[in-house]
């Protein structure tokens, strides 16, 4: 790694791969950083060395990543894996940690392509060992070929059936798929005008998948309005309510999912402008059509700015790169605009389809805000829904005040698993819109780094000899 770059791209998923490759191929001095050991991001994880040989298991969408990663390997850019970015300042000084050593690199332009995370799913028992996200189960499958037999998949969103089907195709036994998509969502989604046509095709594919899942002897249970994961020290089962009737399934593994939301910790901590999106029920960084944020030289692309899926992420990565290349005077405006046109066309169609998906997979309120009093909202600091409601009732006005009263959001995950829930609870109880309630005030570093790493940064000559003090630095 050098000290200065024209462009630093953070994240090697479809958005970051497209952005970095486009920049590198136009001879911008480009650095691509990703905390994973290999390129591909979430969708194309381990694409260069898939754990599973049979291509039917993960399906053709997964293998689209091969061409993207090949293009990266052929492009003259510097790619550093296992590189965790813990800071980006408004002056575009990037703090990055690689195998326990940190350094600062400077960029004329930064493209943040850090992707999405799964939406919190605060239901009773979601903290029990044996309960994990559907994405986590899929990561074990893609990267390692590891599965758990007898699992129950529960929730809503494209990843639910996709992963259940991958599991079955891989030869794992699945106990059931529990679908919490509210029935009214289907009607609403199909009335989405232009998006409904591609939406209808998607539904047909979805029905085929469900048929395949059922044909494997796996029950698909719809119309579920309440869920509880059961167990004392670990998961022993899951209970669901449908038509006022509770049913229990025995299982040691529950995989939960209700969509993905942008990974906002980095852009929030940089004080980029953000806005609440009602349709996707999440906070989003505010960008122009190219992905430019409120900070000069800082672009955001892919699911990190707006959930659009892998195809959209790739095109938006290219757009951000074209804008940067023009700013660096490596291409002129005309070249930029003609190169951008085909990408914009694809994005228009993708966006219509996304409107359909957003409506279809809007999670129901009771899965967003815990109904049960004992349910933990903040997993790190073990703060229950009841504790939060009591604190709001005595006059707490916002997420930051709630944090200082209850420690909710103060733990190592820096609010990633409670921020949205807390906002929603405040909005309901205070009868205020989410945009008004706001979000935690986040600070850097956004990833944990050892004190020794920081000390070594401050005194570079002592870096080699500094005794590492290993307590972690995390601001709250």
């Amino acid at each position: 790694m050098k000290r200065n770059y024209d462009v630093v791209v953070i994240g090697a998923g479809p958005a970051g791969l497209a952005a970095a490759t486009t920049c590198g191929n136009a001879r911008a001095k480009t650095l691509l950083l990703d905390e994973q050991p290999a390129p591909g991001g979430q969708i194309y994880r381990s694409i260069e060395r898939p754990a599973i040989a049979d291509r039917e298991v993960l399906g053709p969408d997964y293998y689209r990543g091969e061409a993207l990663v090949r293009a990266l390997r052929q492009s003259p850019i510097e790619y550093v894996s296992s590189a965790s970015v813990w800071q980006v300042t408004a002056e575009r000084e990037i703090g990055v940690s690689v195998s326990g050593n940190s350094r600062i690199v400077n960029a004329k332009h930064v493209i943040i392509a850090t992707g999405a995370q799964e939406r919190p799913f605060p239901i009773p028992g979601w903290t029990l060992p044996g309960a994990m996200t559907v994405g986590a189960a899929q990561i074990l499958l893609k990267k390692s070929g590891i599965v758990a037999d007898g699992a129950v998949f529960a929730g809503t969103g494209p990843l639910l059936y996709l992963t259940a089907r991958q599991y079955i195709r891989a030869g794992a036994k699945v106990t059931a798929v529990i679908d919490t998509t509210p029935a009214r969502n289907y009607r609403r989604a199909l009335s989405q005008g232009l998006g409904a046509l591609s939406g209808f095709k998607y539904l047909r594919k979805g029905w085929r998948w469900i048929r395949e899942i059922k044909a494997a002897g796996v029950p698909v249970i719809g119309g579920v309005a309440e869920l509880r994961v059961r167990g004392e020290e670990c998961v022993s089962g899951i209970e669901y309510r449908s038509n006022q009737h509770w049913t229990t399934l025995q299982t040691e593994h529950v995989f939960l999912h209700q969509g993905v939301v942008p990974n906002i910790n980095l852009t929030m901590s940089m004080r980029c402008e953000h806005a609440w999106c009602d349709r996707q029920m999440c906070w989003r960084v505010v960008t122009d059509a190219w992905g430019g944020t409120s900070l000069p030289g800082v672009m955001v692309a892919g699911d990190a700015s707006d959930i659009g899926g892998a195809v959209s992420a790739q095109h938006r990565g290219t757009l951000a790169a074209l804008r940067v290349l023009q700013r660096l005077a490596l291409i002129d405006k005309r070249t930029r605009d003609s190169a951008a046109a085909p990408h914009l066309k694809v994005l228009t169609a993708e966006h219509r389809f996304r409107l359909f998906l957003d409506v279809l997979f809007t999670p129901d309120e009771q899965f967003i805000e815990p109904q049960d009093r004992q349910t933990l909202v903040c997993r790190c600091e073990e703060v229950s829904a009841e504790r939060l409601r009591e604190t709001i009732a005595v006059g707490c006005q916002g997420p930051n005040q709630l944090k200082s009263f209850t420690r909710c959001g103060m733990g190592p995950c820096q609010g990633r698993l409670c921020g949205l829930t807390v906002g929603q609870m405040l909005a309901t109880q205070l009868a205020r819109p989410m945009a008004d309630v706001g979000y935690y005030r986040l600070r850097q570093p956004v990833k944990p780094i050892a004190l020794g790493e920081l000390a070594a940064l401050a005194q570079p000559e002592a870096a080699a000899t500094a005794p590492a003090s290993y307590s972690k630095v995390m601001s709250s």
Binding site: E35, P37, Q42, A51, I52, A53, S84, Q117, E118, T127, L128, P129, G130, A131, M132, T133, G135, A136, I139, L140, K143, S144, G145, I146, V147, A148, D149, A170, G171, A172, E233, C234, E252, N263, R379, C380, E381, E382, G411, P412, C413, R416, L417, K447, P448, A450, A468, Y470, S471, K472
Partner: protein, 94 residues
């Protein structure tokens, strides 16, 4: 119980590590969290307040439920840490 699909474990050589002082063979080229889960160790840490066991929840570095001590460094994310021969792992305790 997590398990390898047929043909997926064989490709990976084993490395020796210790978990809570017990010598264990785990597959190389895995994250510590994946290696521990597939060897049947679901609970990776005990919470400081309620004393409850927790396991890896997201496997992608977001939730911090997988914090363990590696070679005397506390609070390492097991899902982001590759296994290395001779690694000493202690499950997270308050």
């Amino acid at each position: 119980m997590f398990r390898y699909l047929q043909g997926c474990r064989g490709q990976r050589p084993s490395v020796a590590i210790t978990i809570d002082g017990v010598a264990t063979e785990v597959p190389a080229d895995e994250t510590l969290a994946a290696a521990m889960l597939q060897s049947g160790r679901l609970d990776l840490r005990i919470t400081p307040i309620g004393g409850k066991p927790r396991s890896a929840y997201c496997m992608m570095g977001v939730c911090f439920e997988c914090l363990v001590t590696v070679d005397d460094q506390p609070n390492q994310q097991a899902c982001m840490t590759p296994v290395r021969p001779g690694m000493r792992v202690e499950r997270g305790r308050p």
